[in-house]
Symmetry: C2
Subunit: 677 residues, 2 copies
């Protein structure tokens, strides 16, 4: 049986062993209620009664009662608990909040808590492909697609799909149901099934017969409060529609999409909508026809609007054929340049999905300057849970603190609300329910779901933070540890907490320094290659020479990217005196001898952090070894094996980065440590 | 129909239109005689008579008459020509010498020439794979293996075989016969059908049923005087023999190989023998059992000896998991260290096959120090005709002058003969017929055989030079042009000659400088990546830092590799005052400001050659365009398209190399040209 992650049914049953549950709902046949009732008794093994008067926990739907929408309230007085919600979905979230509370504390007293989500859309964007592979997936094959029983870990670098399956759907209903349970427990309410790069048979998911299989998955996920979306190929009218054009202003093209949408909603009445990567990294889009992204998105919105569907349009558009000699072009500027002029021009049922940073999910990036500057536009902020640039779930890396920093980041933009990233989507929206956050999940067919067992915390953390933006990374981690490692001793908890909470800094220490980014092996994005992208077409450079390093993005002397920010941030980043150390090389090209706010020179900072990073990984291994036998053996062995590989990786990063910059700069380490030059 | 290369039957018929041929042989049913007679009348369309008295050209086998072995004599007096040879194979070579002569000159006068080959073994080592791909092949799929009709040009970087074919043999007898004709015409007398990396079904070629298909190919090639060899997997006893070991001293293993050999010779009585890559780049070998390479080779020799078969054992053995931090290990030293101690310890029917340079077929390398230091050992010198590091048959590159330089190179070693590379094999042999040269060919299923039409000259040149070591690159080129572009004008010939004869220097100019090698894109080996191998495990480094570049292989301060050479060469290479400029960075690490014998600094040499290289490619394009319409259009278009791609490649090399070293050194170009830094 697959790892139960943070929802071990034995632990849940044990925590709820004194309780008897009853439902008080107007529609006991509602799919969410039926599934929850079934899970309660069958999956968790709890006691359930039909008579609310005989129950110790009553699960009640009270339409119109606060909190509205997806919120819930939990009241406990003496021995009776009432979980109430305005909707069935809210009830589901209330139930899992109860579970969470009970797993965290043994003897609950009276309480009265209520909660509602900070973000209306809390989505996962699967980059799963119809041949069973997962782009940037590090936990085996797709849980949705592929051949039953297959769980290949190969990563074909040359493209996909690599297999053309007659029947692309894996059909593992039990796995999907388990996944749905996980999602419900952390408040995820929408899932895109397939990769934004839609190739081959993936283009056909929007039509029968494959649409029938989509419906089966969608029906199953709906039992857990999850709406299903699909990524589409913008050129579908030409590729599968038999049309000679995919021009968004062409009547035949528009009619084709309407017909497609009608057929989808006939099959799946609660279908969520489309996710679109257009005119990006080789994908087709409206530019081919001289149309704008608004033209493209609005055409799809027009087709979906009669059914209440949403178009999610990605702002990840840049020139991926940049000439490395061209110092005037700056990839960081691309999203703003492409989309800022379109603010307010998207239909009400379009949301623009923006990666949180201006480049691409690096360990350290500033926020995207587009966030907060798109008034009257629905906004979804995109994060990556899967560890593409963060160690491939081989290296331990708990990035929740980065997401917290992003959400709390003040944009200093003009407009209503507090102008932090967390609230801007709601403040600036055309339709306040069409905003939120999206994450690319890190799950696959591996027994433990995420390859590295500790990476389960990242999925958990994403959902929890999406629901409650006021949580911090440490709080979420405590919750996750309590639910996942029930009954562990405090010293074991200390080890888990220390490793995970320091893991992000550790990874940053031994990888690319001071916000410069990349330096990863091309295509794979794991492991070090200082110059791997330096002379390539992707717009990701460090510009190191014998004198200095960094990307000058200032208005004064560089690409002018800083001008895209609101004045307060612009000035902070533009000025060497105020730019934060950790973003120095993202914004400035400086000599190796430049002195950081920390008091160290850049070159000494590079040496010190890289030695420190490796030292810390060595201590991870030691402390992890010390808790052998005190958590479940499979998890311990899994993490031990990953830590061994992480150490190899960290050593290679340390030595290549230090050697590279010693060869370049000629500056010796102040502490005389060995640099292999 | 595929390109006839240098054997256009219409041109041959035309050149021989006044002649009537007759055979004077004791065995008219000899397979070579039968094929030649058939080709004469059917393929070339010449007139043939059964009566020698009525013929103008008599093809005569005279056993025992000089020249012996494979040699031939051509006498012409008045209107009668006699081509005579000691053997049928010699007669075949005599016939093609006659064709060559007639295509070169319109009105032959009297003549009396005789010739015999300088190298007894003139082999091609196909790196063809049973799935139809060709490792390091740039002209489409294998002519021997693959699906009929398929000619994919993909290069799977992740390994092979990528397809498991039920029937690996392509079965294109016409193509193989045409290939045999080409080989006969240039004197090639042995072919290894399959890649030295023997994987998957390739391991089974030595046994029925696949052996039956090998026989069909071998029988066909035998008609052209070509003996067939196979590459074997040293672990075959375990992989396909059902044994628990492949230990060369294990009786069961030895017996298994004898049984295999017996069965092969039962099927193919003139089978050539085995080619073996052992303990190299992941291939299995005797080291696994604590045995020497001599133990491994001699075991196979023992199995083949009763049948007259030969074991060809490759000396390309080095540590392919080197730590880049390890400055003590030097890959260049590996072949000598592994094989020098085994001199004289190989069985008489073993030949050691040594790559001509100490690294791996680079544009510029010194000769292998092993050559001339293996007394009482049969030696085959290995060259690469396929352009792995030489531009993938996209960039024009005629490397024959490099092979000439190698063959004429004086080794200054002790021993009989003149101690040049060309004669050492014969001088130092245990069995003088078991020595020679081998080349990895550049052909595939492309219509023009070699991808780049001008790369046909490289195959032609290899065969001609292998036969006659006194030829030079320019002579061979004139022959090839005369045969391939019959009837062209002198100014067209000038363009062909100029491009091909300067092509090697041009390619060297824009790629890795001064013998340092590599700087190619990892795995692909085409295109520039200055640091592509710098922090990798392959032992191929440039060690550039802000002060200088190059590999110190001296005894005084470096890896000591120079000590492997005989004293005269050792001193030449050890001393900065005498080392040739073009090998400077192969042997020394020097400052960028080091002044070459040419009077330029190293850094200025780098800039100048890289600008020059691109300029020359631009002139290639211009001059090539100028002969449009004056050679066959398909060839002109093919080369035009390649030259466009070559220019792109050269520009990228120039800019990346110049930028890299400008960033490193900080030294500006003396001529103020633009370097994108």
């Amino acid at each position: 049986m697959a790892d139960p992650m943070w929802l071990n049914p034995h632990a849940v049953r044990d925590a709820l062993r004194h309780e008897v549950f009853a439902f008080a709902v107007s529609d006991p046949e509602h799919i969410i209620v039926r599934r929850l009732a079934d899970d309660l008794s069958t999956y968790f093994g709890c006691r359930v009664t039909a008579d609310p008067a005989a129950a110790s926990v009553v699960l009640r739907v009270e339409p119109g009662a606060p909190p509205t929408a997806e919120g819930y309230r939990i009241r406990r007085r003496a021995d009776t608990t009432v979980v109430s919600a305005d909707t069935e979905r809210g009830l589901l979230y209330g139930f899992y909040a109860l579970v969470r509370g009970r797993l965290a504390e043994d003897n609950p007293g009276d309480l009265d808590v209520s909660s509602r989500p900070d973000q209306p859309l809390r989505m996962l964007n699967h980059w799963d492909q119809v041949d069973g592979t997962v782009e940037r997936g590090y936990a085996g094959e797709s849980i949705f697609f592929g051949v039953p029983g297959s769980n290949d870990h190969a990563h074909p670098p040359g493209g996909f799909p690599v297999r053309d399956l007659d029947e692309p759907f894996r059909g593992d209903r039990e796995r999907i149901a388990q996944y749905g349970r996980f999602l419900a427990s952390i408040g995820i309410n929408a899932v895109v099934l397939n990769n934004v790069n839609v190739r081959g048979k993936g283009t056909q998911l929007i039509q029968l017969p494959l649409l029938g299989k989509v419906r089966e998955v969608a029906d199953l996920l709906a039992q857990f409060g999850v709406r299903t979306f699909l990524s589409i190929n913008f050129a579908a009218p030409k590729k599968i529609g038999g049309l000679s054009s995919s021009d968004p202003l062409d009547h035949a093209v528009r009619a084709w999409w309407r017909t497609v949408a009608d057929a989808i909603y006939h099959e799946i009445p609660d279908f969520g909508g489309f996710l679109v990567k257009a005119d990006s990294e080789g994908e087709p889009g409206p530019y081919e026809y001289g149309r704008t992204h608004a033209d493209g998105a609005n055409m799809l919105a027009d087709a979906l609007a009669p059914h209440g569907g949403l178009v999610i349009w990605r702002a990840f558009v840049y020139n991926s054929h940049q000439d490395w000699r061209d110092r005037a072009t700056d990839r960081a500027r691309a999203a703003y340049e492409n989309f800022k002029p379109l603010a307010g021009r998207f239909a009400p049922n379009v949301a623009l999905q923006i990666k949180f940073g201006p480049i691409d999910f690096q360990t350290r990036e500033p926020i995207s300057p587009l966030i907060g500057q798109l008034h009257a536009t629905n906004l979804i902020v995109e994060f990556q849970i899967t560890a593409e640039y963060l160690g491939h779930q081989i290296d331990v890396n708990y990035p929740v603190s980065q997401w917290v920093e992003v959400l709390r980041h003040h944009t200093h933009t003009e407009g209503p609300g507090d102008r932090t990233v967390a609230t801007i989507a709601s403040s600036d929206a055309r339709v306040t329910t069409y905003v939120g956050v999206a994450g690319v999940p890190n799950v696959g067919m591996d027994d433990n779901w995420t390859g590295h067992a500790l990476a389960q915390a990242n999925l958990y953390g994403f959902g929890r933070l999406a629901w409650d933006n006021s949580l911090d990374a440490a709080q979420i981690l405590e919750e996750w540890i309590s639910q996942t490692f029930t009954g562990i001793d405090d010293d074991v908890r200390d080890v888990l907490r220390w490793i995970l909470l320091t893991s992000r800094e550790t990874y940053e220490n031994y990888t690319a320094p001071l916000g410069v980014g990349f330096m990863v092996r091309p295509h794979y994005h794991y492991g070090v290659s200082v110059n791997g992208y330096e002379y390539d077409r992707w717009g990701t450079y460090h510009f190191a020479d014998r004198d200095g390093i960094g990307v000058d993005r200032t208005v004064a002397t560089g690409s002018g990217f800083t001008a895209q920010y609101a004045p307060a941030l612009r000035h902070t980043y533009e000025d060497l005196a105020t730019v934060p150390d950790e973003l120095l090389l993202f914004f400035h090209h400086v000599p190796y001898t430049h002195v950081l706010h920390s008091g160290k020179t850049v070159i000494q900072h590079i040496y010190d952090t890289h030695f420190d990073g490796v030292d810390t990984v060595q201590r991870y291994r030691e402390r992890w070894a010390s808790i052998s036998g005190r958590i479940d053996p499979a998890t311990h062995a899994n993490v031990s094996e990953r830590l061994d590989r992480q150490l190899e990786n960290a050593v290679e990063w340390r030595d290549q980065v230090n050697t590279y910059f010693f060869r370049m700069s000629g500056v010796p380490d102040l502490h005389g440590r060995t640099i292999s030059a």
